[in-house]
Subunit: 201 residues, 2 copies
């Protein structure tokens, strides 16, 4: 294997470690999107990636750390693909509409092999209190918070309960993801119509 030219041995090892970590986490996010976070194991990821089981274990230490790193990785990919492209849009209706469109795209052509990472992992974890569930809840709250802020910005009247509207919009987006996986292509329009109704409420 070539050593990076401008790096001493330590940096080279660290670069390879980071790259390996990324490969294992990509595989972990895809596996979790299919079967949830519980079946994740050092052995299964080793088989999937060709990295040795000891190598995978050395990167994450415990299964819980692996699960937390997998959630953080999914969140980074989600933020980069769904949220970041709307950064340049005007806050409010325009940005909210953009977020809904990016979500629809995310649901229509899933980033992860099993479809929506959050839909696959939350029902599994929601009855198991602990750091893993907390990490999922914190991602969900951040997403609903983002919808609430953009909704508040978008609406002419500030009298409506923005948190309720954000909860409703998030519920519909999740249901659209599920409906699309059942082959109901028209579901995407339900997300658009709901966003429009809530913006104009």
């Amino acid at each position: 294997m070539l050593r990076p030219v401008n790096a001493d041995g330590n940096d080279g090892r660290r670069l390879r470690g980071n790259r390996t970590r990324g490969i294992v986490l990509d595989a972990a996010v895809n596996l979790a999107s299919e079967d949830g976070l519980e079946p994740l194991s050092f052995g299964r990821l080793a088989t999937q990636t060709g990295v040795s089981k000891a190598g995978v274990q050395a990167l994450f230490g415990t299964k819980q750390e692996l699960q937390l790193a997998t959630i953080a990785h999914a969140a980074r990919v989600f933020a980069a693909e769904v949220i970041a492209p709307t950064d340049r849009l005007t806050p409010g209706a325009e940005r909210l509409t953009g977020l809904v469109e990016r979500w629809i795209e995310y649901a229509e052509t899933p980033l992860f092999s099993g479809g929506c990472f959050w839909s696959a992992t939350m029902p599994e974890q929601d009855s198991h209190p602990g750091p893993v569930r907390d990490a999922l809840v914190s991602q969900r709250d951040a997403w609903i918070g983002l919808l609430a802020r953009e909704l508040a910005e978008a609406r002419s009247s500030a009298t409506e309960d923005g948190q309720l509207a954000a909860f409703q919009l998030n519920a519909v987006l999740s249901a659209v993801n599920s409906a699309l996986r059942l082959g109901e292509a028209s579901a995407s329009d339900r997300a658009r119509d709901t966003a429009r109704q809530l913006i104009n409420a």
Copy 2:
């Protein structure tokens, strides 16, 4: 074991068979509400119920038949506990409000050990076309259809898209189930508020 007094041997066997079937299906619904329909197996149900593995297999034949019978059993329990109690209510706003209240109760104090049967099984099956997914979809469509009918009856104006409103209400009910499992007790009011908004739309 006592033989039923007013039954010949055949009827006695059939009665025992029905009772055993009910015991196995109760266990199957609870298991599926926790881990989904895939981990259901004759062996696991035998261990859970004390019925012999051959006995369980004789009742259902194939794993797919077992899964379909489990869905039908969950649907019967759901209909008896959530839908039937609203039969005597006036169609429209009153009955819809009753359905929402029964759903909240269903979500707050789950009928099944793992919580909502549909939330646990649909994400697992939605990417696997076949009779099992079809059975789940048909239950979901019947439920959304019921909400749509009551919404149409409840609303003063018939101009709104009742199917969209039913989709939205179902989405919020599912999200409330999930939020309750995350400990957000206030989520129940979001279901009530959403139903009220949609009725008055």
